[in-house]
């Protein structure tokens, strides 16, 4: 312990998951809390995101789940009086808040010391102008550029720099608002969005380095000025694509020792000159091969200052520095085994690198550079499977929601494993984009989410690699590797499958499924043949030191070589299958549940084995489980892991049977229930048959009918005629969806026969022969229930809580605001919910968790309504972390213990509804719409949110207002509201209009809504719709910054949706609250007007205990 070490420290989390800021900061924050505990420092954590491990009991010493704003943090600081503040572990959100608190004088006022990297270092790294000056001082080259604050300044600067240029706004996440521009029109537009996006209205305009190699270094420095690099990474995509949207390989593959160390030295110079204490990420651009991409000679930097022949080295530029733990550092931590966040936190607490033990070896120190003896590939996971209308072109603004990582001993095998890990509807390496240009190379010139497949197609089509390299900027080395894979593809197509060929294919990463496809066989047959030939994976350890020292971390990846390092272990063990990459619909909530499951297994004396493919997460921290397998989550990989664990892969059956736990890893894990059952692999918890019963529409209908539990009437149809007949019988509006997708994909609420015909025609064209489901749309109160069932022999069904949605049914449950405890349900309705939940749980035979969505239709207000079942999921839902936190019921632990055979009574828990706690909690969705151009933001049956926040307080209005505040959706206490309400919503909007009018808001509206407002007796400013012309029109009005809030509900008739679409996009880009559901808007306004602004600030346990 040094004199620098404080007694207590405040750690700011990164808030909700949004594009550019995902689960990696839960991992970083959790590591930081652990590090503080180890150092004997009291940790106080603030985060608005309940779906995080860091906000769990026992991680930090004090947990606040409160909005991340300066006034809130001020109150927390006042209350807790921390000695220190750790600014660099909560992503850009945490860093910006720390800077704001400093600038507001709050840190000084309360004597809070910034730990680790000083504020001046943060400023010099973050502020473009200061950064350029700092680089100039130490002779590190930066591209010709200018920092500007207005469009006029930008135009002047452009004259000196010349097109093409890159535009980067200061202090934004994931490059929001920036971009590469080639034309003057693009330039004017992007300059404006960039200035708008920057909180300090500052952008950098710099010479574009399109086509240069992008290389990153993760660097650490301690107070004794010891500097080390943890990892370097090379992007397959050349400069021009945000690194978060790039395919990344670690370590670099095409850099010579000279290149590697030239850039490493530059990175060390930079961290030293900035004075960073902790972790930092340096992005550099290295000149590519001149024969494939010409270098603009006039932009060459001076040569480096190392001895000859090094002085003839390649030119490079320094692009950017992140003076904090980042997404790249999470990736580097998982790629190397070196826990960057933990070490950075300890440095901030005053430790030197040589005083921090290396946990991996248990005997060396953190002061060393990891040596990798494998190749790591990261591929981003984009949301375009959900947002088909989104602009898929990748640039400087990040669009991916998550990422996968794969490890193997060759690039080819790691790449193929990463592709398998993406879980994008059967896109193996063999997938061909039928929509693409006939010239695949032309398609590959544009960076998109499917560029990798376009590169495969281009190589397959026989285009010379040199030409592909020239046109795409992808280094020929990567194209040669692709060609190696394609040669194998051809051999598998042409040659008989021999042991030698099979082994060669497996060593290149070909999955059994691909081999089956190419060799004209079936997966199972290939697997049998492969094992019969003794071709099986071995598992090697990620040990930070390339086997130079004995390591103790149980962190493994598969490869087809000789020596297996993951020997079967004795004792009871179970495999927890994780949830893979973060995507819309399957977010961090499932990683939370997976982590809790592993902890519960360990607490019960079982060995926890974890499998996952997502490098951002806590579940892939080697501390979380007894053994971690970093692998794709498909049948082949999971069966291999299970067989390795029980020893049967190596003909040794001493290991004992290892069962799988599938109910915590979202749909990824649950989808394995069928295949594993067929393969006679045991499953802990609900069986494959239970899952099938809940998911198979026919079986489930019969099941509910037998129990006498109602469901909205519905049927499956195959044609437009059948659909129209069915809808007539059921009655409009109807909810339509294809039968083959889950989670609300391509679902629509249809009001009339014309839209129904259009929907059915389109769906049939997309997937001929697949049935379409038509259900009665019940616009009632939607209610969500999570429950834990004891499993066979246990008649107990515990309901930790009932959540009521603010939006009526029809908005995807993941996008709805949920309130606990349900505020408006009648006692009789609650009784019915408990009864149905119990009957369904016991009837299905659920063991562990289940989630049921209900809709309640009341014929008369104040009298019990009818309760209908919408959907049952026999697995952990996304509300598990939220509900666990607000009720105090350890839901995952109870479920795991139930699976292991301990009844709920034995665990000390009753059957029925758990008594509600004296708090009100609201879960609000958070969207990343400002980053996804072309995507409509209105709420509907398709999920669109990327993350969630929680507002918790003693009453509903305060809790709701806090949730909105945390989500960036809070209604301003006064200001101007723009209303554009669809006809079908106008009746419901009247009371909302009255409230706004009476509260003195300035009202603006499109024509129909304006008439309604006038009719209600309020003044209104009419804003012309864009389609009728008008200057300024409604869009101009929003963009001019005069509007503080938008309420816009979409017309159900799809042809009229476009104007509303532009209104909603403008609001998203302007970052003002935009409500697309009257329900949400109404509640939000009411909460603001009824004292919601007078919220409390307290640690979560205080709310739960009724101490607030």
């Amino acid at each position: 312990m040094t004199d620098q070490q404080p007694e207590s420290v405040l750690i700011i989390g990164s808030g909700p998951i949004v594009i550019g800021q995902a689960a990696e900061f839960d991992y970083a924050g959790t590591q930081a809390c652990k590090a503080m505990t180890e150092e004997g420092v009291r940790s106080i954590l603030v985060n608005s995101n309940p779906a995080t491990i860091m906000t769990d009991e026992g991680v930090a010493d004090q947990v606040y789940i409160e909005p991340l704003t300066v006034p809130v943090l001020r109150r927390i600081i006042e209350r807790e009086r921390p000695e220190g503040l750790l600014p660099t572990l909560g992503g850009q959100v945490g860093l910006n808040l720390a800077v704001d608190l400093h600038e507001a004088g709050i840190l000084d006022q309360f004597g809070v010391r910034l730990m680790g990297t000083p504020i001046d270092s943060i400023r010099r790294a973050e502020d473009r102008a200061l950064f350029r000056d700092a680089m100039r001082e130490i002779g590190e080259p930066t591209p010709p550029s200018a920092v500007v604050h207005s469009l006029d300044e930008a135009r002047q600067a452009l004259e000196a720099i010349g097109l093409p240029v890159a535009i980067r706004p200061a202090y934004t996440l994931g490059g929001t608002g920036g971009g590469f521009v080639r034309t003057i029109d693009e330039f004017e537009r992007v300059v404006q969005t960039g200035l708008d996006a920057s909180p300090i209205t500052q952008i950098l305009i710099e010479r574009s380095l399109l086509g240069w190699k992008e290389v990153e270094y993760e660097v650490m420095r301690d107070a004794a000025d010891t500097c080390i690099t943890i990892c370097n990474m090379e992007n397959l995509d050349p400069m021009g694509v945000h690194t978060g949207d790039s395919i990344v390989v670690a370590p670099s593959q095409t850099l010579s020792d000279n290149d590697y160390h030239m850039l490493r030295s530059a990175s060390l110079n930079i961290i030293r000159s900035l004075g960073i204490e902790g972790g930092c990420n340096v992005q550099l651009a290295l000149a590519p091969r001149q024969d494939v991409t010409s270098w603009p000679a006039e932009s060459m930097p001076p040569a480096g200052g190392v001895p000859d022949p090094h002085d003839a080295d390649l030119p490079y530029y320094v692009i950017e520095v992140n003076p904090r733990v980042s997404r790249s550092s999470a990736l580097a931590s998982k790629a190397t085994g070196y826990p960057i966040a933990r070490v950075a936190a300890k440095i901030a607490a005053g430790k030197r690198l040589d005083e921090i033990p290396n946990q991996v070896t248990g005997r060396t120190q953190a002061a060393f550079e990891p040596a990798l003896d494998y190749c790591v590939v990261k591929i981003p996971r984009w949301p375009f499977d959900k947002f088909e209308a989104g602009d898929r072109v990748l640039g400087t603004q990040m669009k991916a929601t998550g990422e996968v990582m794969a490890i193997d001993r060759t690039f080819e095998a790691a790449l193929q494993k990463a592709i398998r890990s993406l879980e994008v509807g059967g896109k193996s390496m063999l997938w061909e984009d039928t929509d693409a240009e006939s010239d695949a190379t032309l398609a590959a010139e544009t960076p998109t989410d499917v560029r990798l497949w376009h590169l495969f197609s281009a190589v397959r089509s026989g285009t010379p690699l040199h030409e592909i390299a020239q046109r795409t900027g992808v280094d020929p080395w990567f194209l040669d590797r692709i060609e190696t894979m394609i040669s194998m593809e051809r051999r598998l197509l042409a040659e008989p499958l021999t042991p030698a060929l099979m082994r060669a294919a497996k060593r290149l990463g070909f999955a059994d499924e691909q081999i089956a496809n190419l060799a004209g066989s079936v997966d199972e047959r290939v697997r049998e043949q492969r094992l019969a030939w003794g071709i099986k994976p071995v598992y090697k350890m990620v040990d930070t030191c390339a086997a130079e020292f004995d390591a103790v971390t149980p962190y493994f990846y598969s490869t087809y070589e000789e020596e297996n390092e993951a020997e079967p272990e004795a004792g009871n063990r179970a495999l927890v299958v994780g949830s893979g990459p973060i995507r819309i619909g399957q977010g961090i909530e499932f990683d939370y549940a997976s982590v809790k499951a592993a902890q519960a297994l360990r607490a019960a004396g079982w060995g926890a084995v974890m499998a996952n493919s997502n490098p951002e997460t806590v579940s892939t921290d080697f501390d979380t489980s007894d053994r971690l397998y970093f692998e794709p989550l498909d049948e082949e990989a999971v069966r291999d892991i299970l067989q390795n664990e029980d020893g049967s892969l190596n003909g040794d059956h001493n290991g004992g049977e290892v069962a799988s736990i599938l109910q915590f890893g979202g749909q990824t894990a649950i989808n394995l229930a069928g295949p594993l059952t067929t393969a006679a692999r045991p499953i802990l918890g609900s069986s494959a048959d239970v899952i099938d019963l809940a998911e198979d529409r026919r079986r489930f209908e019969r099941f509910l009918a037998d129990l006498g539990i109602p469901q909205p009437p519905g049927t499956a149809v195959q044609s437009v005629d059948e659909a129209v007949l069915a809808a007539d019988a059921i009655g409009y509006p109807v909810l339509v969806r294809p039968s083959y997708v889950l989670g609300g994909r391509a679902m629509e609420i249809v009001q009339a026969v014309g839209d129904l015909a259009r929907y059915v025609t389109q769906a049939q064209a997309a997937a001929p022969g697949r049935p379409i489901l038509i259900d009665k749309y019940l616009a009632g109160v939607e209610v969500e229930v999570d429950a834990i069932c004891g499993g066979p022999g246990d008649q107990a069904v515990l309901i930790p809580g009932i959540m009521e949605h603010i939006e009526r049914a029809g908005v995807h449950s993941g996008d709805s605001m949920a309130v606990y405890p349900a505020p408006n349900l009648l006692p009789g309705e609650i009784e019915k919910l408990i009864q149905y939940t119990r009957e369904i749980g016991l009837g299905l035979g659920v063991a562990g968790l289940m989630n049921i969505q209900y809709v309640i239709m009341r014929e008369t207000e104040g009298r019990d309504g009818d309760v209908y079942v919408l959907e049952v999921n026999p697995r952990a839902s996304r509300t598990v972390p939220f509900l666990s936190k607000v009720t105090g019921v350890p839901m995952v632990e109870l479920a795991v213990r139930a699976m292991l055979g301990e009844s709920l009574a034995e665990q000390g828990y009753p059957s029925g509804l758990w008594p509600s706690t004296p708090l009100v909690a609201v879960k609000a969705p958070v969207f990343s719409m400002s980053k996804l151009s072309g995507v409509d933001t209105h709420l509907g049956p398709e999920m669109k949110s990327t993350g969630e926040v929680m507002g918790v307080d003693v009453d509903y209005d305060r809790a709701l207002n806090k949730a909105l505040l945390a989500a960036g959706m809070a209604v301003p206490p006064s200001g101007r509201a723009l209303l554009s309400i669809a006809d079908q919503d106008k009746p419901a909007a009247m009371s909302l209009i009255r409230e706004l009018g009476e509260a003195g808001y300035g009202l603006y509206a499109t024509i129909g809504t304006a008439n309604l407002i006038r009719g209600l007796g309020f003044d209104v400013e009419e804003a012309p719709k864009r389609e009728v012309g008008g200057d300024p029109d409604v869009i101009d009005l929003i963009r001019s910054g005069q509007i503080d809030m938008v309420i816009n509900t979409p017309e159900q008739i799809s042809s009229n949706i476009r104007d509303g679409f532009h209104i909603r996009r403008a609001a998203a880009e302007q970052r003002i609250p935009c409500f697309t559901s009257i329900d949400t808007a109404h509640h939000a306004v009411a909460a603001m007007l009824e004292g919601g602004a007078d919220y409390n600030i307290a640690p979560l346990p205080d709310y739960k205990a009724g101490l607030v």
Partner: protein
């Protein structure tokens, strides 16, 4: 004693095996020369720098296993050779890249090895080999065509131990000077001003000479058998004892020269040169179980508390027990606490076990050459008012 000659019946991608002295056999594909070979099997954990390692004379007599699996990616660029030839006896890799891509490295690794008449093997489980060596220590091994595995096991028992071999011939036979980025005959006029440094070439890497030359020195490399008188005869301002292969216990001649030079002029030792100086200071040396070979070894400078990341390639270390009382251990390896640097308290003499010249490896330690030149500046007519760097 040397490699057997090339064999005509060996096709380019023949099946081959690495056979270790403990009997372990690793099957793979032959690369480089169609020949078999033997040597002490050692591993290096650097992720880049295969060409620099292959030409590092300290690998003489050794078969080099690279733990990074993908080798040859950026090809071969002849000007960055670290000595006049490939020095390893054999190369062992997981995957050899035959389609390199780099602005400067057009040549394939396979062709480079073949031209140097050095065989290698690819496709083997290099991690398994590394774990075996880590566990049991370095041992002899052979690379042979697959059909010769049985015979190889017999042959391994008869091969001489690495430690008993004299590698003195790895150094130069005739003195040369370093100029224009290459060795030049000593007869040429040497126009360069600046301090004159003699580097005793026991198997040096050219980058040591480049570092000195870049700093404005006249550089003369002399044969390892040079006596102190031979060295003093060319009137140097300082002497650098270079790295080199083999057991420092066999370097009595150099130890004697070092003893005679200490007190007469500044001396710097690197790697073998450090071990020679250690012996000159009265210490013993010993063999490490599997050596230090890589680019990531942390070394603590005891005076400052700062940790340097260093390039290392050595199989022996200095035992500090019997060190003279006026010599300090200045640097310590954080992994195993072995001696990484020595300095005399009174005389301008210091040494480091690691490679300040890098190539391959981190460029963090070039300042040690500045330290050497500062010592020279302090004690010679080239000196200025600059203080001694200690």
């Amino acid at each position: 004693m040397n490699r057997t000659s090339g064999r005509d019946d060996w096709p380019e991608h023949h099946e081959a095996a690495l056979v270790l002295a403990d009997g372990a056999v690793f099957r793979g594909t032959g690369i480089g020369a169609a020949a078999d070979t033997w040597g002490e099997v050692v591993f290096n954990t650097s992720m880049t720098g295969y060409q620099e390692m292959l030409t590092d004379p300290s690998y003489a007599g050794q078969i080099l296993v690279l733990t990074y699996p993908l080798i040859g990616n950026y090809g071969i660029d002849p000007p960055i050779d670290e000595s006049r030839q490939v020095q390893v006896r054999g190369l062992v890799v997981r995957a050899e890249c035959d389609t390199p891509s780099h602005p400067r490295g057009g040549m394939r690794l396979h062709d480079y090895l073949a031209a140097a008449d050095i065989p290698g093997i690819a496709g083997v489980d290099t991690r398994a080999i590394t774990r075996r060596i880590r566990h049991d220590g370095v041992m002899l091994g052979v690379i042979v065509p697959i059909q010769d595995v049985e015979a190889a096991q017999q042959r391994l028992a008869e091969l001489p131990a690495y430690d008993s071999q004299d590698f003195i011939s790895v150094g130069v036979e005739q003195p040369y000077r370093w100029s224009d980025g290459r060795p030049q005959p000593i007869a040429n006029p040497s126009p360069e001003p600046g301090p004159h440094i003699v580097v005793l070439d026991e198997g040096l890497k050219y980058n040591i000479l480049r570092h000195l030359h870049t700093r404005g020195c006249q550089v003369t490399a002399m044969p390892p058998s040079s006596s102190a008188d031979d060295i003093l005869a060319v009137k140097p301002h300082g002497v650098l004892l270079s790295p080199g292969p083999g057991d420092p216990q066999l370097r009595d001649l150099q130890v004697a020269a070092a003893k005679a030079l200490i007190g007469k002029l500044p001396v710097m030792g690197i790697c073998m040169g450090h071990q020679v100086l250690g012996r000159a200071f009265g210490a013993d040396t010993f063999k490490l179980k599997f050596g230090h070979r890589g680019g990531n070894h942390p070394v603590l400078e005891t005076a400052t508390g700062r940790v340097a990341i260093t390039a290392q390639n050595h199989g022996y270390a200095v035992d500090p027990d019997a060190l003279a009382a006026d010599v300090d251990v200045t640097h310590i390896n954080l992994h195993d606490s072995t001696v990484e640097g020595l300095a005399h308290r009174a005389e301008p003499v210091f040494s480091i076990q690691y490679h300040a010249e890098a190539s391959p490896g981190p460029l963090d330690n070039g300042h040690l050459f500045d330290r050497f030149l500062n010592l020279i500046a302090d004690t010679s007519p080239h000196g200025s008012a600059r203080g001694r760097v200690r």
